[in-house]
Structure formats: structure tokens, C-alpha cells
């Protein structure tokens, strides 16, 4: 097992490096660079731009810039953000927690709602409750999340029950610990719901399918024939087998925890990584993009690995040598 994990990591290193190189070349070779934003100011002189060009090594060949970055990476220096003129790690770390809170909340909401819904729908297959759930899943699957966020915000502005965007209220500092948590939770509500609604619909469908498949197996028939109570058949025998395949999904979810959701973050003024990345990609703040891509890549690999390991744990038939 440990050898397998080690092997996976060794494979991952060249993969991430190739990806990083691809990103770098893609960002560097397309027209325009960060300094163009400064260039448009009539009051900034040529020397100033030259200074920055030299400072950020933008006047060097692309590959040289890349290897320079890799070299610094080995010393755990991730480079400077052109835009903010401070190390990228500081900018990312300021927002990491916020993104994590939002992703985690939406993760919890998705699983907590979708799994029971899926089971419920499967047990009542083709009854009106199942049809209602399926109808709503289709609707929510087909609405872009930014649109849902917009509608929710408009609704909140009309009713005044929830705050309009942001992460804290204006008097956050004066609140008690409990009050602070409550404050963040109310601000979390809209972006979380907007983010989760689509995934709830999707996961619910998967869960329903798995459950139906499990209920159709021979051992369920046997269990019923033995005269086990229906509840026990459904929740003990079928459920366990229906949930197993979902466990691998958990691993994949892990990898997307920190990628952020740019459009939702912008609309809900959530100070996460998504909106930061969007501006960084668009304004070619290369090292900021590279670093968060690196982070995403590592998480993806860990997530995949986690999925595989979990699979072994729940399904003894699978084995890695």
C-alpha cells in the first residue's frame, strides 16, 4: 500500500511540472502582459515600466523565466504577484480559509441533502414524491449557478432576511464568538445555496440510481424472502452497497475544495480564491496563477489517491500492489 502511494506521488511530480510548463507557456506566449495595465496611465513613464519589466524578468525569454520560477520553487519561494507587489503566498493565504469555508459548507449541504433525497426517491420510485424530486433536479441542473445567486440576492434585498453578499456584517468585531459564527453563517447562506443546488440535483440522481441498482440485487430478494423487515432491508443491506461507489466521489470532491467559484464569489462579494484567480488569469499575473494552479494540482492528486484508497477500504475485492 505505502509503496503504491509513493509510486503515485512520484508519477505526480512530472505531471505537475508538465502542467506548470504548459500553463506558463500558455500565459506567457499569448499577447499582452501584466504591465499593459500600467501602460495605459498617461502619467506613468517609460522608465517606470522598464523598471518593472526588469524586476519581474519580463524582458527575459519565457523558458528562462520558467526555470527561474522552478529554481525558486525548490526554496519554497512561489514568486511575487505583479499586481500586489507582495509574495503570492501571502495573498493566497489571506483568502484560503474563506474559500475553504464556502466550499466546505456547500459540500456539507450537498451531501446532507442529496443522499437522503436520493434514498427517498429510490424507495418511492415512480410515486409522486419521486417525480417531484426528479422534476426539481432537472430544473436546478439546468440553471447556471450565477443566475441562481442573482435571483437569491434580489430576493434577499426584497425581504431583508439575509445580508446581501460579503462575509461579515459591519459590526462583526463587536460580536461575541457565538455571534461571529452566526454572522458568518447568515452571510454564507446565499453563496452556499447557489453553489450547492446544482450539485444536490446531480448527486441525488446518482444516489437514486445506485440505490435502485442495489435494491434490484439478488441478496435483497433473499433478505426479503427471509422475512426481514423492509426498513432493515432498505437501510441496512441496500444502503451500504449503494453508498460504496459514492465514496470515490468524496475523494474527487476533496480536490475541488480550494478551486473556488469565481462568478458566485464575484456576485456574492465572497472574498475567496475564485475571484482572485479570475482577475489574475485575465490580467496575466502569472505567478499568482501558477501558484494556485500548483495548489490545485497537488490537491487533485491527493484527492484521486484518497479516492483510490477509500475504494480499497470499502471494497475488499480491489487491491493495489
Amino acid at each position: 500500500m505505502w509503496v503504491y502511494i509513493l509510486k503515485r506521488f512520484l508519477v505526480a511530480i512530472p505531471m505537475i511540472l508538465i502542467m506548470a510548463l504548459a500553463t506558463f507557456l500558455l500565459m506567457g506566449s499569448t499577447p499582452g502582459n501584466y504591465l499593459d495595465t500600467i501602460r495605459m496611465d498617461p502619467q506613468v513613464s517609460e522608465e517606470t515600466i522598464g523598471y518593472y519589466q526588469h524586476l519581474y524578468k519580463l524582458d527575459r525569454p519565457l523558458l528562462e523565466q520558467f526555470f527561474y520560477w522552478i529554481k525558486n520553487l525548490l526554496r519554497l519561494e512561489f514568486g511575487y504577484s505583479f499586481h500586489y507587489n507582495v509574495p503570492v503566498t501571502r495573498i493566497i493565504s489571506a483568502r484560503l480559509l474563506n474559500t475553504f469555508i464556502l466550499s466546505f459548507a456547500s459540500f456539507v449541504l450537498t451531501w446532507a441533502v442529496a443522499i437522503p433525497l436520493g434514498i427517498w426517491a429510490a424507495v418511492h420510485r415512480n410515486q409522486w414524491i419521486d417525480r417531484l424530486i426528479q422534476l426539481f433536479s432537472y430544473i436546478f441542473l439546468s440553471l447556471p449557478s450565477f443566475f441562481i445567486a442573482m435571483i437569491l440576492l434580489y430576493w434577499a434585498s426584497q425581504t431583508g432576511v439575509l445580508p446581501l453578499g460579503g462575509m461579515y456584517g459591519p459590526d462583526y468585531d463587536q460580536l461575541t464568538l457565538l455571534g461571529k459564527i452566526g454572522d458568518i453563517l447568515t452571510h454564507l447562506a446565499i453563496p452556499t445555496v447557489a453553489l450547492s443546488i446544482g450539485s444536490i440535483a446531480a448527486l441525488q440522481r446518482i444516489m437514486r440510481g445506485n440505490m435502485l441498482e442495489a435494491l434490484g440485487q439478488k441478496y435483497i430478494l433473499t433478505a426479503r424472502a427471509k422475512g426481514l423487515p423492509e426498513n432493515k432491508v432498505v437501510y441496512h443491506h441496500a444502503l451500504r452497497n449503494a453508498i460504496n461507489p459514492l465514496i470515490t466521489l468524496l475523494g474527487y470532491e476533496f480536490s475541488s475544495l480550494l478551486s473556488g467559484a469565481a462568478l458566485i464569489e464575484i456576485i456574492c462579494s465572497w472574498p475567496g480564491l475564485g475571484s482572485l484567480m479570475l482577475t489574475a488569469v485575465r490580467s496575466k499575473d502569472i505567478y499568482l496563477v501558477m501558484t494556485s494552479m500548483l495548489m490545485g494540482g497537488v490537491l487533485f492528486i491527493i484527492g484521486n489517491l484518497l479516492a483510490d484508497i477509500l475504494l480499497v477500504k470499502v471494497d475488499p475485492r480491489i487491491r493495489y500492489d
Binding site: G32, N33, P42, N85, Y168, S269, G272
Partner: protein, 574 residues
């Protein structure tokens, strides 16, 4: 059309008149005892890039530090006259080269250290003119490539010696003064460029302004508290500012900003054209007022590439020589200018709340604005006639016009993505150019890509762009003189390519040395006439600056040029 313009300018004058009427009672009100306390909540669209104003000049940065620092002088937003600030008075020598500033003696930095002439000398000699620091404002202060000498006379007197006369000098003295005692060490260590970045402890940022930054949550908000050591007092001798706190919320989406204003979280909101129809009817009910502050300073225009240069890497000309010959043809540009349907652009893009623009100095700049420049009314028949006279006509009957050699008139028109306004302007123009028989590929590019075309690759045909403007004509030097890097249609020329560009160069070097305001105006009037005649850039429309502000503030004097809260220290909660 001409009548219409005259009408709009009259309207503009009227607005100002009403402003004044409105202001007088407000000023007398300020004698009633304003109560200290309360807070002001505003919104901004993006995070500050840095708190270091020497390095960063973006709006996001200057907005974030606007109330932390002061300059020696301050321009009055209504009269546009330069008035005292940290300097209480000044003297100038006969030849206009030597200036002595008398500093206020009661100014204290927000950490308690006294403000002296050393800080002024430090700001200029060690920061602005320091070759190791990419000070963004240095370009303004360098006259013919030379810095001016800044010397301390005594604790409260500073002497500036200029190499040549420099008309905008006093206005340029609004440069923020930074604390020597805080920054001297980092400058010596060569670390100034990364000092006061966004990860700085806010308490390190020490200023002389009415407010101090106390907290910055990235992507969330900036919180300011009143500076208890601020030097300005009201008429009764009470220390200013009255407000206890000021908060900038960072709201990226302007719709959310609007909702937050209606809901009551925000105290002010800048309207886009159509917002007016939504907000004006609920003014009373929601207890706010919409102020029309007049035309905006920032311009939007079309520019054609007239660069005859050759790309040194590919040995190909930047612009296809055939197209270049059209773009260099003034009649071609005149025809395009006649195809700009300003009236409908204002109606569609600005919801009728806008002004047409014809000259590089918009009506907002006041004194230097010249109204009777060459104007181009929307008239497609006239445009067609001009094109025909210049040799452009549909020779092969395919609906598109050709030039004399039979080349079909076709070019790419770019603008930056994400600006609905510019896309609409471009779409409207495109539609009309098509009617003239031109084949236009209208495309949106990422802002950076577009700017890089404009300033470094030079490979483009036509662009719709915007530039921010200012009251001082000389600060647009980078755009207008032929060696400027933002001289978009043909940048960084060694010698002026055309007689009129040569004349503009002369006017700019005359204008900067002319100290008599009236004579200066004559110089810049000629400049505006030349630009409107030669049309290197074809102006479109200006927005009306509209701001909605909650009715709870006393001493409020929204101005066009100085912003809504330019006198923040005097504003109080009623």
C-alpha cells in the same frame, strides 16, 4: 444638432448654478453645532493594489489612501483654484523659478511625531526623485528630464528651485507628503518598493489626513477611524473630522452595490444611466438624494492607427500600407466622425444622461474647455459625400466601397471586453460604417491584449478606448506630444510626422512655461482646435456623473471634480 449641443451646455451651466444655490444654505447650516460621531459606508469595486502611493497610482490605491495623506496644496473642486493645505502660503520669485512654501506649524503625524520641512524634502528627494524607486508621478515632476531642487530652509520652510518655468507646478504640489520618520530606514535598505503593501499592519501607515486605516480584510473591506491628531479645526475650534469611522466595502458586482444601497447598507452610490429611472422615483421614500454632478472627465473615443513603422522582428509594416493610407487621410477620419450618432449613443448607452464630446478637454474641466471647436454632426449622407470626394466609392457594385486603387475598405475595430458601454458604442458605430460601405470586423479583446497592441505591438487598425482626464492640460502630454508613448495613433516619433503634430508639440512646450492663465488658455485653445480639425482621435460621448447619497449628512458639498466627499472632515451626521 448644433442647437442640441448648445442646449446641453446650457443645461450644464444651469446645473452648476443650482449647485451654488443649493450650497449656500448648506454652508450656513454648518454653523449649527454638528455632533461628532457616526460612520460613513461606501463601496469600491476592487481591492487596493497597495497602500504605497508613490509606487501605485491605480484608482483602487488612490481611493484607499485619499483620506490618510495630505499634499502641500489642494485644488478647490468648484473654482479650480489652488489653495493651501499643509502649506499655509507660498511665495514665488519674479522669474517663476523659485518657490518658498510656508508650512503649517500645527501639523502632527497620526502617531504623534511632528510634521516638518524634513518630511517634504524627504518625499521629493528620497522618494519621488529616487532613481531606485519607480515613482509613478516622477514623469510629472521631471521638467525636460531634470528634477527640481528641493531644499529645507528651516523647520517650516521649504524652497523649490525649478530648472525652467512650470505652469502646473502649484497644482502638482498636491503630491501626498509621506512621513520621513517611518520610511527613511526602508529607503536606505532599498526595501521601499515593497513597503506598505497590502499585507502591512495598517497601524504602520501614518499620515496627516483626517482618517487612519485601522483594518483591511482582503476582498471584504477597509475600515478607517478618525485621526484624533488631525490639524484642521472647525469655526468653533472643535477638532475635525466629525465622523468617527469610515468603511469601504469591496463589492465587485455593481448590481449588488445597487441593491446594497437601496437596502441601506451603503451611504452613497454612483449611478449608471438606467439606474436613474430606478432610483429617482424612490428618492423620498428611501430618504436619499440623487445629485447630478455634471459631465465626467474620462473620455471614450475611436482612434485609427497611423503608424508607418515596420515591425523589426518580422520586417512587416505594423499596418497594412493600403489601410494606412486610408487612416492617414483626414477626409476618411472626417467621414467616420460624421458617422458617430452621438445623440442615439447618449440615448441608448447612457439612458439620455450624457454629453457629446468633440475636443480633448471635456466640458468638465471648466476653464480650459473650448466649446466652439470643429464639430461633426451625425450625417451619413455628408459622410458618404466626403468619402466620394476623397476617392472612395463602390466601384464593383458589391455594396462595399473601394479606394482609388480598387482595394475594398475593410478593417478590424477592437475594444476591450467586459465593457457593455463600449460594446454598444462599437456596435452602433459598426452599423453606421457598414451603411457607408465599409466592412468592419468588430471584436472584443481582453483589456491587456488590447493595451499591448496599442503600446507595444502596434499591430491594429482601429480601437475604441477610454482615457481618464484631468483639469490640467499639461498632464496629458504623454498622449499629445509626438514623442509620447500614449500618442496612440503614432507613438514615440523622433520628429513629428505631420505639421499639426509639430504644432501641438510646440504648443505644449509653450503652455507649460506660460504662467499667465489667460495666455495659457489661448495656447490650449489652439491645441483643441487642431485636434478637432485633424481628428487623430474621434470623440464619442461623456457620461453624466450622478451620485445618490443618503439624506443624513450635513455639510455635504458634492462636486464634479473633487468627488462627493472631498470635504470629508467637515461632514457630519445630522
Amino acid at each position: 444638432m448644433f442647437n442640441k449641443i448648445a442646449f446641453q451646455n446650457r443645461r450644464f451651466a444651469l446645473i452648476y448654478f443650482f449647485f451654488l444655490l443649493f450650497l449656500f444654505p448648506a454652508i450656513s447650516q454648518s454653523q449649527q453645532n454638528p455632533q461628532p460621531g457616526g460612520q460613513l459606508v461606501l463601496a469600491t469595486t476592487s481591492d487596493p493594489k497597495s497602500f504605497n502611493t508613490i509606487i501605485a497610482k491605480e484608482t483602487s490605491t488612490s481611493e484607499a489612501v485619499e483620506f490618510i495623506f495630505d499634499g502641500l496644496t489642494k485644488t478647490d473642486p468648484f473654482t479650480l483654484k489652488v489653495g493651501p493645505n499643509l502649506a499655509q502660503s507660498w511665495e514665488v520669485s519674479e522669474d517663476g523659478l523659485e518657490w518658498i512654501f510656508h508650512l503649517r506649524e500645527d501639523v502632527v503625524w497620526s502617531d504623534g511625531v511632528e510634521f516638518t520641512a524634513d518630511d517634504v524634502v524627504f518625499t521629493f528627494n528620497d522618494l519621488v526623485f529616487n532613481p531606485d524607486i519607480p515613482a509613478s508621478s516622477r514623469d510629472i515632476f521631471m521638467i525636460d528630464g531634470q528634477p527640481f531642487a528641493v531644499n529645507k530652509v528651516d523647520q517650516y520652510h521649504v524652497k523649490f528651485i525649478l530648472p525652467v518655468r512650470f505652469a502646473p507646478f502649484l497644482r502638482a504640489m498636491s503630491q501626498e507628503i509621506l512621513p520621513k520618520h517611518k520610511l527613511e530606514k526602508v529607503v536606505k535598505e532599498g526595501k521601499f518598493n515593497s513597503t506598505w503593501g497590502i499585507d502591512t499592519d495598517p497601524r504602520e501607515i501614518v499620515g496627516t489626513g483626517p482618517f487612519c486605516l485601522i483594518r483591511y480584510d482582503p476582498g471584504q473591506r477597509l475600515v478607517y477611524e478618525r485621526n484624533p491628531r488631525y490639524w484642521k479645526k472647525d469655526l468653533n475650534g472643535n477638532t475635525l473630522p466629525y465622523l468617527e469611522r469610515m468603511i469601504y466595502l469591496i463589492v465587485q458586482n455593481s448590481d449588488v452595490e445597487l441593491l446594497k444601497f437601496i437596502e441601506g447598507t451603503l451611504d452613497a452610490y454612483s449611478l449608471r444611466g438606467m439606474d436613474y429611472s430606478l432610483l429617482k422615483p424612490i428618492e423620498q421614500k428611501n430618504n436619499f438624494t440623487v445629485y447630478d454632478r455634471g459631465p465626467d472627465l474620462g473620455s471614450q473615443f475611436i482612434v485609427f492607427n497611423q503608424n508607418p513603422g515596420i515591425n523589426p522582428n518580422t520586417n512587416k509594416p505594423f499596418v497594412d500600407p493600403v489601410r494606412l493610407s486610408w487612416f492617414q487621410n483626414r477626409d476618411f477620419r472626417r467621414a467616420v466622425a460624421h458617422a458617430v450618432d452621438k445623440e442615439k449613443i447618449i440615448e441608448i448607452v447612457k439612458n439620455k444622461l450624457g454629453y457629446p464630446q468633440y475636443s480633448p478637454m471635456g466640458p468638465a474641466v471648466g476653464f480650459f474647455y473650448k466649446d466652439d471647436v470643429f464639430k461633426y454632426e451625425y450625417d451619413l449622407n455628408k459622410a458618404k459625400q466626403i468619402l466620394k470626394d476623397a476617392g472612395f466609392s463602390d466601384r464593383d457594385g458589391d455594396g462595399y466601397i473601394e479606394d482609388q486603387e480598387g482595394h475594398q475598405v475593410e478593417f478590424n475595430l477592437y475594444t476591450n471586453s467586459g465593457s457593455t458601454e463600449r460594446v454598444d458604442i462599437g456596435g452602433i458605430l459598426n452599423h453606421d460604417l457598414e451603411k457607408l460601405g465599409m466592412k468592419v470586423n468588430f471584436l472584443q479583446l481582453e483589456f491587456n491584449t488590447l493595451v499591448s497592441k496599442l503600446t507595444s505591438t502596434f499591430e491594429w487598425d482601429a480601437i475604441i478606448m477610454g482615457l481618464t482626464g484631468g483639469v490640467e492640460p499639461h498632464f496629458g502630454k504623454n498622449v499629445w506630444t509626438s514623442d509620447g508613448q500614449l500618442h496612440m495613433w503614432n507613438p514615440r516619433q523622433e520628429t513629428p510626422a505631420t505639421p499639426w503634430e509639430k504644432r501641438i508639440d510646440e504648443l505644449f512646450s509653450e503652455g507649460v512655461q506660460e504662467l499667465d492663465e489667460d495666455k495659457r488658455k489661448i495656447i490650449y485653445d489652439e491645441f483643441q482646435m487642431i485636434v478637432s480639425r485633424e481628428l487623430p482621435v474621434i470623440y464619442t460621448v461623456l457620461s453624466a456623473k450622478l451620485t445618490a447619497i443618503r439624506n443624513k449628512f450635513g455639510n455635504l458639498k458634492p462636486s464634479n471634480l473633487g468627488g462627493v466627499f472631498h470635504n470629508l472632515e467637515e461632514i457630519y451626521i445630522k
